[in-house]
Amino acid sequence: MNTFKWLVRREFWENRAIWIAPAAVGALQTLAILFGTVNISGITDNNALATPDQGTVIGGLALFIFGVVFFAVAYVYAFWYLLDCLYADRKDRSILFWKSLPITDAQTVLAKLFIGLIAIPLVYFVAADVTTLLMAVIVSLRFRSFIGAALWHPDQWLQMQVLWLYLIVTMGIWYLPLAGWFMVVSAWARRAVILWSILPPVAILILERWFVGTHVVARLLVDWSSGYAAHTFIEPPANGWATAIIGGHAITRPESIWGMVTPAYFFSSPATWICIFVGSALVFAAIQLRLRRAEV
C-alpha cells in the first residue's frame, strides 16, 4: 500500500498537467465571471428573477455548465494520459530505472489506471468546486439581487456534488474497457500510440463489413459508447421537471438530482458487469505486456 502511495505521488510529479490544467480552466472561468457580462435569455434588469423558481433554475444551470466544462477537459486529459502512461517511459528508456526498483508491474499499471480514472477526475472535481464557490461570491458581489442569490442554494450545491461523484464512479466503470484498451496499446506499441488505439477497431469494422457483410461490432461499439447515459440516468426524472419562464424563455431542468440517478439499475445491469469484466481483462493484458516489454 505504501508503494502504491509513492507510485501515485510520482505520477503527480511527472504529470503536472493533472493540477495545472484544471487550475487554468478555473482561472479562465473566474476571469470570465469577474469581467464578463451576463446575458441569460435576455435578462438584463434586477427584477427579472422575481420568483424563487427562476433563481434556482438559473443557479443550477450555471453550476452545471461550469462543471461540465471541467469534466469534459478532465476526461479528454485522462484518456490521453492513459494512452501515454505506459509508453512515455519506454520511449525515454526510464523504464529501465523504474524496473530496477522492487515494484511489481501490476502495481505500476494499477497506479496509473487509478490516476486516469479516479485521481484526475477528482482533482477536476475539487477545482470545479473551488471555481463555482468563487463564482458564487463574485456574482453575488457584482450583481447582488440580480442572479447573485440564485447561486446560494445549499441543497442544489449538494446535489451537484452527488451528481459529479456519481459521474466519476460510473464513468470509471462503464469506460473501463476503453481505459484498458488504451493501456494495452500504451504498453505494446513501439510508436504512434494514437494511431494504434484507433486502427485495430476500425480495421475489425471494415473487415467484418467486407467479409461477413454484417456490422455487429460497429453496433456493439455504438451501443456501448452511447449506452452510458441510459444506464446511469433515468429519463424522464422520477420526480418530474421544473420549468421556469425567464425573459420569455421556458427553461426546464429536473426537479432534483435524486430523481435522476439510478445506481441500483446501473450496478444490476449485465452491461455494467460486462464492462467490468472486459475492462479487467484488458488491464490484465496490459500488465502482462508490461512484464515483457522494456524500452521501445
Binding site: N2, E14, D92, F97, S100, P102, A294
Partner: protein, 289 residues
C-alpha cells in the same frame, strides 16, 4: 566454488530468441559471491540479452537462478537484493534529484537515504535540479549515489560509462570500488570497452555471437595463456606450436597460446602474460576466422 554454497548466478543452457534470431544459444555459466565479473563481447554478441534475463526484464529458455530466485517470475523480490544501472541516461528528465531520493526511499526497503545524501553532498548537484538540466556525468553521479545507497548483494551494470568522458569514467569506477564493493557483494559489468575495466575485474566471461568464448578468473590467466615475442627466423617454429592468435609488431611477431607448453615456449625468450584486452582480441579474432 565450494560444493556447499550455491552460485549467486547460475545459468544453464540459457537461450534467448527474438523470432528466428538467436541472441543467446544454450549459454551456461556461474558467478560466485564477492567477484567482479566482466561480461565482455562485441556489440550484438548477446551481452544485453543475458543481462535482461538475469534482471528479470525478459523471458528466456533454459534454467536461470539469481540469488536463488527465478528472475522473470520473481523480479520484484529480486530487486530487493539486486540493483542495476542499465546505461546511465535512463533517469527521466522531469525527475528532480530530491524526488528521486524520496521515491527510492519510499519504495525500497534496503535504501539508506542518509548514505545517498552524503554521496551527493560531495558533488555540485543540488536537490531541486531536474535530470534534464544535468550533464551526462552529473546524471551518472546521481544514479550511482542512488544505487550505492541500496544495500544490495548484486549490482549489475550494462555499459555503464557509455557516452561519458574519461574523467567521469574514472570517477565512476573509483566510486564503484571504494564505496560499494566488499566481499559480500558481487558486481556484473557488461562492456565492449575492455581496457576500461580490465584492472577491476576478478573474473571474465567473453561472449561472442550468443556463445561463451571464455569464462575464467583473471588470476588463472598466467597459467592458461602465454604470449611470446618471436624474431623473424623463428616464426615458423612458433606457428608449429599452434598459437591462437598472432600479431606483427615492429621487428617481432607476438604469438598467443592457449594451454601452452611452457617448456617449449621458453626457447623463444621471455614468456609474458597477455593482458585482458589482448586476450579479448586474441579470442575474438580467432573465433571470427
Amino acid at each position: 566454488m565450494s560444493l556447499t554454497m550455491p552460485a549467486l548466478i547460475d545459468a544453464q543452457k540459457l537461450t534467448k530468441r527474438y523470432g528466428k534470431y538467436t541472441a543467446l544459444d544454450q549459454v551456461s555459466f556461474t558467478i560466485d559471491t564477492g567477484r567482479i565479473v566482466g561480461l565482455i563481447g562485441p556489440n550484438g554478441a548477446g551481452k544485453t540479452s543475458a543481462l535482461r534475463a538475469i534482471l528479470g526484464l525478459s523471458s528466456y529458455e533454459g534454467t536461470l537462478s539469481v540469488l536463488g530466485r527465478e528472475p522473470f517470475s520473481d523480479r520484484t523480490a529480486l530487486m530487493n537484493e539486486a540493483c542495476f544501472i542499465a546505461d546511465v541516461a535512463v533517469l527521466p528528465g522531469w525527475l528532480r534529484v530530491d524526488q528521486a531520493i524520496e521515491f527510492v526511499a519510499g519504495v525500497h526497503p534496503r535504501f539508506r537515504r542518509d548514505h545517498a545524501e552524503a554521496l551527493l553532498a560531495k558533488t555540485q548537484i543540488t536537490g531541486k535540479r531536474r535530470m534534464r538540466e544535468l550533464s551526462k556525468g552529473m546524471k551518472t553521479q546521481v544514479h550511482l549515489a542512488l544505487t550505492m545507497a541500496i544495500d544490495a548483494k548484486l549490482l549489475v551494470l550494462d555499459e555503464p560509462t557509455l557516452g561519458l568522458d574519461i574523467l567521469a569514467r574514472r570517477a565512476f569506477y573509483d566510486a564503484l570500488v571504494n564505496d560499494f564493493m566488499d566481499d559480500t557483494r558481487t558486481i556484473l559489468i557488461t562492456t565492449h570497452q575492455v581496457e576500461e575495466v580490465e584492472n577491476l575485474l576478478t573474473d571474465l566471461i567473453f561472449i561472442d555471437r550468443g556463445h561463451i568464448a571464455l569464462a575464467m578468473p583473471v588470476e588463472d590467466i598466467p597459467t592458461r595463456y602465454a604470449v611470446v615475442a618471436v624474431t623473424e627466423n623463428e616464426v615458423e617454429a612458433a606457428r608449429a606450436l599452434e598459437p591462437i592468435y598472432e600479431r606483427r609488431t615492429l621487428g617481432k611477431t607476438l604469438f598467443y597460446f592457449e594451454a601452452p607448453d611452457f617448456e617449449k615456449l621458453a626457447g623463444f625468450g621471455e614468456i609474458m602474460t597477455p593482458s585482458v584486452s589482448d586476450l579479448f582480441v586474441a579470442k575474438m579474432s580467432g573465433s571470427a576466422v
